[in-house]
């Protein structure tokens, strides 16, 4: 098996063969999830703790379901309401966690690098469920699986990522993953929503959405955070929708069989037209959610195998 990681902190650290291993296993789990007996035992006896320092409904639910389907004992900790408010540092939280002997730790944190920091201090496998504007690796992996399912391959595709790239960890992880798998990545956004140095990322940058979507295979929309709309990044919601919202007219520039993706939750009428999002011929948004569970099952399964291996070696 070629998956050598002890944590899943970001796409940055994954090699292409590791990505393929993970997606292949996820595809098996996707089939399992469609069967009547949605149950495996890969995580039997293990404890999974979901620690979310930032609000999340779908990602947390997806990780919870993934763990339960593979037989883990799953606990959810909502850290916003908890000790962080009492001044406990991240390191102290990690030390307390160690005493509970978790095996898998799923963490979301509002600050870039916080999950890396935690991973250095705990004795279990850590999965990054999103840190600041740094990375969201399982989202990129589920997007990759969705694309592979729809297009039959995950290389030599032309993919446009559109919207608030600057503040998006989803965009960073996707740029890295799609680049590693040798696709052509285009970024479509107003310049205020692009990070500095973007020209060195091996991507093509477009400020005109129609030009950016020309002949692409995949259109990946990003969520525009409400707080960015009046933060001086864009003049107004309606101007943004006019220039960067995905509608049938702009989508017509993409290939006829281009698929439309969105990590959710969507702002209908801000970054994406409502009817387009629901168009079962174009939109794969529901598939993304479905693949999310499968990818997270695969990721936790692989990390658990490595964890057991390491513990066996340590005991020997």
């Amino acid at each position: 098996m070629s998956f050598r990681q002890s944590h899943l902190l970001g796409i940055e650290h994954l090699a292409p063969d590791e990505i393929v291993t993970l997606l292949d296993l996820a595809a098996e789990y996707a089939a399992l999830n469609r069967s009547d007996r949605k149950h495996g035992d890969a995580l039997d006896g293990l404890t999974q703790i979901n620690m979310f320092f930032e609000n999340s409904t779908r990602t947390q639910a997806s990780f919870e379901l993934a763990g339960k389907r593979l037989g883990a004992d799953v606990m959810n900790m909502s850290m916003q309401a908890s000790s962080i408010k009492k001044g406990e540092t991240l390191i102290d939280t990690a030390l307390s966690l160690n005493a509970m002997h978790p095996d898998l730790l799923v963490v979301r944190h509002p600050q870039s690098g916080a999950v890396d920091l935690l991973a250095q201090k705990v004795n279990c496998a850590v999965l990054n469920a999103g840190d600041g504007r740094h990375e969201h690796p399982t989202q990129a992996l589920l997007d990759a699986l969705t694309i592979r399912n729809a297009k039959g391959r995950l290389h030599r595709l032309s993919i446009a990522i559109c919207g608030d790239i600057a503040h998006s960890r989803v965009a960073r992880s996707n740029i890295l993953l799609l680049g590693k798998m040798e696709n052509r990545v285009r970024l479509v956004a107003p310049p205020t929503l692009l990070p500095a140095g973007i020209e060195n990322f091996g991507v093509e940058v477009f400020h005109d959405m129609k030009a950016g979507l020309e002949d692409v295979d995949v259109v990946m929309m990003l969520r525009l955070q409400k707080e960015r709309m009046d933060g001086g990044f864009i003049p107004s919601e309606r101007e943004y929708y006019h220039r960067y919202g995905l509608d049938a007219e702009k989508l017509a520039h993409a290939k006829d069989d281009a698929i439309v993706m969105h990590p959710g939750p969507m702002n209908r009428g801000v970054e994406i037209d409502g009817t387009l999002a629901d168009d079962i011929n174009r939109s794969v948004i529901q598939d993304q959610v479905e693949m999310g569970v499968a990818v997270r099952m695969a990721a936790m399964d692989l990390l658990a195998r490595n964890l057991r291996e390491r513990r066996k070696e340590a005991a020997a």
């Binding site: 991240l90 870039s112 690098g113 600041g132 740094h134 500095a196 140095g197």
Partner: protein, 430 residues
């Protein structure tokens, strides 16, 4: 008490020369600098004590502009005693201390406290700086006259930018009437708000809030306009980007009374050293690109940038063991200033005498201190070091109370053998 130090490589930062010879200390001052073997022999016959330096380098002690000491307010991070011991072991004979204490050093009474504590506790000299505005809040100027009388050598709000140009211009004008030196932090406060890194590919990949290197030039340009308007004596604490250098060159060419410094960390490290969110590399301003670093090194080599300092900023483990954005900025540097600076000399990027001028003579001269010279009549503040002595730094061996050095486990060259302040030996390597 007299002492003859013979068989040394003498660095004269005034003449920018390196010669072989001897220094004769009489009491608290340098009495003679000798290069003629016959004269050295004659002097040796009459000296009370003679020390053979074994060909090591003897130079004026470093004058470190911008040392943060945790007194008052944060003595758990650093005291005058611990900083003084670190300085002596590092070859720093004058610590020019920062006013960003708790509370801010903005009254003559506080300055007197600092001077008294320093005299009791520190083996090396302290030259204290005062805040420029009360509480470093950028609204009202401190009692500049009284502060000068109490011994303030310069006025600075450290990393706080006085954003109100009317307030800043009045501070500059008033300071000018008293000949006081104002030290500012050139940075546009709007662009740099919340930034933890320099914007570019690296910061974007790591998802860190970042500031364009342009913000430094914007801050510097603004300050130059105000200096031109007021005629004040001005020193930029840290110029760290290539973009700001032409403006500095222009200001000097136009005859403005302007100098600039840079921290040793910006001369020896770059943004990639942040790696996977290593908070010991979080500095103010943030580490720059390699292009910027090389441009600034070149500016020190040509003398465009006048001073090099450690920007010693002690932080305890708790304030560093946090997610990068939340972690405190700054690094300790008193004991690593010498070996880090020597990297530049060893790599042939800056001639040792020129480098030494930036570490000793230039800051002293700018602050009106008599230190930094290797000449008869100068204070006998000296450091003897072996520039090639290799070692691997273990941060827990540092004498500072705080161990937040970016050079932990780094291979370095250059160790201090002995340090003298006013003719008194304050450090000797065991």
């Amino acid at each position: 008490m007299s002492l003859l130090l013979t068989n040394a490589r003498l660095i004269d930062p005034e003449a920018l020369t390196e010669t072989h010879g001897a220094v004769y200390i009489d009491g608290t001052t340098i009495a003679e600098v000798l290069t003629d073997p016959a004269a050295i022999e004659a002097r040796a016959a009459r000296a009370l004590r003679v020390e053979d330096c074994g060909g090591k380098v003897l130079a004026p002690g470093m004058v470190d502009l911008g040392v943060k000491i945790g007194e008052p307010g944060e003595r758990h991070k650093e005291s005058f005693r611990s900083a003084g011991l670190a300085a002596a072991a590092g070859g720093v004979t004058t610590m020019v201390t920062r006013p960003d204490t708790l509370p801010v050093t903005d009254t003559p009474e506080q300055l007197e406290f600092i001077t008294r504590r320093a005299a009791e506790a520190s083996p090396v000299r302290i030259a204290p700086m005062s805040a420029l505005t009360k509480g470093r809040a950028g609204r009202e100027m401190v009692e500049i006259g009284f502060m000068l009388d109490a011994g303030a050598v310069a006025f600075t709000d450290v990393d706080h930018v006085v954003t109100d140009t009317r307030v800043f211009s009045r501070c500059l004008t008033y300071a000018r009437s008293l000949g006081a030196l104002v030290i500012a932090h050139p940075q546009d406060p709007g662009l740099s708000a919340g930034a933890a890194a320099t914007s570019g590919k690296f910061a974007s990949l790591k998802g860190l809030p970042a500031v364009s290197s342009m913000a430094e030039r914007m801050g510097f340009d603004r300050d130059m306009a105000l200096v031109e308007m007021t005629g004040a004596r001005y020193h930029a604490d840290q110029i760290t980007t290539a973009r700001a250098l032409p403006a500095l060159e222009r200001a000097k060419a136009n005859g403005l009374d302007v100098t600039a410094g840079v921290s040793i960390h910006h001369l020896t490290l770059n943004e990639f050293d942040l790696g996977d969110y290593r908070t010991f590399f979080k500095l103010t301003p943030p580490l720059r690109s390699e292009d910027d670093r090389m441009a600034v090194v070149e500016a020190v080599a040509t003398g465009l940038i006048d001073t090099v300092s450690s920007m010693h900023t002690p932080q305890d483990e708790e304030s560093k063991r946090l997610p990068f954005e939340e972690a405190a900025a700054g690094a300790v540097g008193l004991q690593t200033l010498l070996p880090a600076a020597l990297r530049l000399a060893h790599e042939g990027l800056i001639e040792l005498p020129r480098l030494w001028a930036a570490l000793s003579l230039n800051p002293a001269r700018r602050l009106g201190l008599p230190q930094g010279r290797l000449a008869p009549g100068a204070p006998a503040d000296l450091v003897l070091f072996d520039p090639g002595a290799p070692f691997v730094l273990d941060r827990f061996t540092l004498l500072s109370k705080s161990k937040n050095t970016p050079f932990d486990s780094a291979r370095m060259e250059g160790r201090v053998t002995a340090t003298w302040v006013g003719g008194q030996e304050v450090y000797r390597r065991a």
